[in-house]
């Protein structure tokens, strides 16, 4: 399918037809895009299943896909007749699955939040980190690490990170708001300023920290899924499910993308949708940051990648970005924990080193052929 698509694109470029037009026609017919984006969703779902099987199977203990499937099916009471030994089952269910679920939740949250934020800011550079949620989370965690207090036991660290994420976003939004409205440019610049302040404080913490603390700081600033256990993953999963409240607002996002004034004249209050998206994104991404630290690039890149394939309709783009974010993070985590065995690379190193060059490649190709990016 990919090859066919590429061939068609090449032909379109030669004929001067905007690239993607035929692919869309083929994919959507003339009908509504929501129902006929089915092939893209089918592909994303298959990729997600493959990614889960690979992540659950690959590692120090190898578990073949059939056994992984058996472990998962046994959990929901379906028997496959395949025997899996106890150790392998423990590895799959007790160690790898929490990490997989965390990757799916964090990735889906970042993807969906990124697509929504790019829409409400009408800006291709918007991503969850911009509104302060990522650096705020890291800062909250690092303050706790440096001061060494833990009033709530194991919950202290994720809660401090979550609180930091909410607090810094609140500060950014509060500073950017005037007369009951937010100017997009003001909000983005406020975000940039607060992020650099947070970055400075994190740097200061690194300067003051001892070796062990420094390792923890790196964990928070470059992200890692190594801390995943069922008890920390479940709250994150609940929050990610809560993030689905963004989906009914996809149509409003389409109109906002067309223009703030245009949206108003079509009956949509941009400011209301904007507040909703910022609040929900902060909660969803904040929950992920609280457990996994800062994961760069996913929220920025995934919506862009998917827009190229399925177009900018948010009714399709939002769920696709959730799936795409989950797949990308599963892939990145697989690389992070297998490439320098027995050590683990920080997740942010992998997402940035793979995502960055690929993003540049796409950016150049799309602007050259299409004259526009989004």
């Amino acid at each position: 399918m990919i090859r066919r698509q590429t061939a068609e694109r090449a032909r379109d470029v030669r004929r001067g037809v905007p690239r993607g037009a035929w692919w869309r026609l083929w994919q959507r017919g003339e009908g509504s895009s929501a129902s006929s984006a089915a092939p893209a969703f089918a592909l994303l779902t298959v990729l997600l299943v493959v990614a889960v099987l690979l992540n659950a199977g690959i590692g120090a203990v190898r578990v073949p896909p059939a056994e992984v499937a058996t472990v998962l099916l046994n959990r929901v009471g379906i028997s496959t007749g395949i025997e899996v030994d106890v150790l392998r089952e423990q590895v799959v269910w007790g160690i790898r699955m929490p990490r997989i679920v965390l990757a799916i939740c964090v990735g889906a949250g970042l993807g969906m939040a990124g697509a929504s934020l790019q829409a409400i800011f009408r800006n291709p550079l918007a991503e969850p980190g911009l509104i302060g949620v990522s650096s705020g989370g890291a800062l909250g965690a690092i303050v706790l690490i440096i001061t060494g207090v833990a009033p709530l036991g194991w919950l202290s660290l994720p809660l401090a990170a979550f609180a930091g994420a909410l607090l810094l976003t609140l500060v950014v939004y509060g500073l950017a708001r005037s007369d009951g409205r937010t100017q997009v440019v003001t909000l983005i610049l406020t975000g940039v300023a607060m992020n650099s302040i947070a970055g400075g404080l994190i740097g200061l913490a690194g300067f003051l920290a001892d070796d062990a603390e420094l390792r923890s700081i790196v964990f928070w600033t470059l992200g890692s899924l190594a801390g995943a256990t069922w008890r920390v993953v479940l709250p994150v999963a609940l929050m990610t499910v809560f993030g689905l409240v963004l989906l009914p607002h996809a149509r409003a996002m389409n109109l906002i993308v067309l223009g703030e004034r245009e949206a108003f004249h079509l009956g949509v209050s941009t400011e209301r949708v904007r507040v909703l998206v910022i609040v929900v994104s902060t909660l969803v991404v904040g929950a992920g940051v609280a457990v996994a630290g800062i994961v760069v690039f996913v929220g920025l890149v995934v919506p862009h990648l998917l827009r190229i394939v399925i177009g900018p309709d948010h009714r399709v783009l939002l769920p696709a970005s959730a799936l795409g974010g989950a797949i990308l993070l599963l892939g990145a985590d697989l690389v992070a924990r297998t490439i320098v065995v027995p050590a683990e690379l920080p997740l942010g190193v992998v997402t940035a080193l793979i995502g960055g060059p690929y993003f540049l490649f796409l950016l150049r190709r799309t602007t050259r052929e299409q004259g526009g990016w989004m």
Partner: protein, 263 residues
């Protein structure tokens, strides 16, 4: 019967500046009303107030007798469609998708049954069917204006506001758009358009609203409003008004202040 649009004593102040001062006018059903005036006269401010984007400091705007201040955005969107000066989106929606957005205010109403027909008809009237599958950012400025105009028509509202709809268009497309406006006013739709080109206003508008320094300098039939001494004063530049030998409508020509040697 009340006028479709009634603007009553509207003023708008920002800080010390009074951008609009006690402006009143009304638009009847099926009327093409042109708003003209020099730069800074308050044309765009007035249009934005009628469009509900700005709240007037005092005065009221009523559509079908109801103050827009009391209506939710969605109710207003079913009465009034607006074409801003330009739609700057960089997202790659197709022209057809952009036009179909016009049907959002009619979601979950009986009118949503007309969605397809409204979109098709609007695209046919504006002649943008051939661009249906092209993405909006790849269209030229003039094509984007036509697609946006199609979107405004597909909204099927009794009132349409246009902010300089012809400024990005060449001669042929200007004529096409103005003819189109005649067609839609013939169906009983009221069009209020800010026009920079006095001659377009003179040729096509039933009535002309001339603004000067935030005040209504004149409001009435084009022949009465577009008068040489008044225009010369408002635009601070001498003009001649002659009669179009074919159509009979007034034509406004600016005088050359400095004659060249040859002249």
């Amino acid at each position: 019967m009340t006028a479709l649009l009634a603007v009553d004593g509207v003023s708008f102040e920002v800080g010390q500046a009074r951008l609009l001062d006690d402006a009143s006018f009304e638009a009847e059903r099926g009327e093409l009303l042109a708003v003209v005036g020099p730069n800074g006269a308050g044309k765009s401010t007035l249009l934005r107030i009628v469009a509900g984007e700005l709240a007037p400091t005092s005065g009221s705007v009523r559509i079908e007798g109801r103050p827009i201040a009391d209506m939710r955005a969605m109710e207003q969107a079913r009465l009034r469609a607006v074409l801003p000066q330009q739609t700057p989106t960089t997202f790659r929606f197709t022209a057809r998708e952009v036009v179909s957005f016009a049907r959002v205010p009619w979601l979950r109403t009986p009118e949503s049954g007309d969605d397809e027909a409204a979109v098709e008809e609007a695209m046919r009237l504006t002649g943008v069917e051939s661009m249906a599958t092209r993405t909006f950012p790849t269209l030229s400025g003039g094509e984007q204006t036509l697609v946006s105009l199609a979107r405004v028509l597909a909204q099927r509202t009794p009132l349409v506001l246009l902010d300089e709809p012809t400024s990005a268009l060449d001669l042929r497309h200007q004529a096409l758009v103005m003819d189109l406006l005649h067609d839609i006013t013939a169906r009983g739709i009221s069009v209020v358009a800010v026009l920079h080109d006095l001659n377009l206003a003179a040729t096509h508008a039933a009535r002309v609203l001339l603004l000067h320094g935030g005040r209504v300098a004149a409001f009435g039939p084009a022949r009465e409003v577009l008068e040489a001494s008044l225009l010369s004063e408002v635009f601070e530049h001498p003009v001649r008004v002659i009669e179009d030998p074919v159509e009979g409508n007034p034509l406004v020509l600016p005088e050359r202040r400095v004659r060249t040697l040859a002249g």
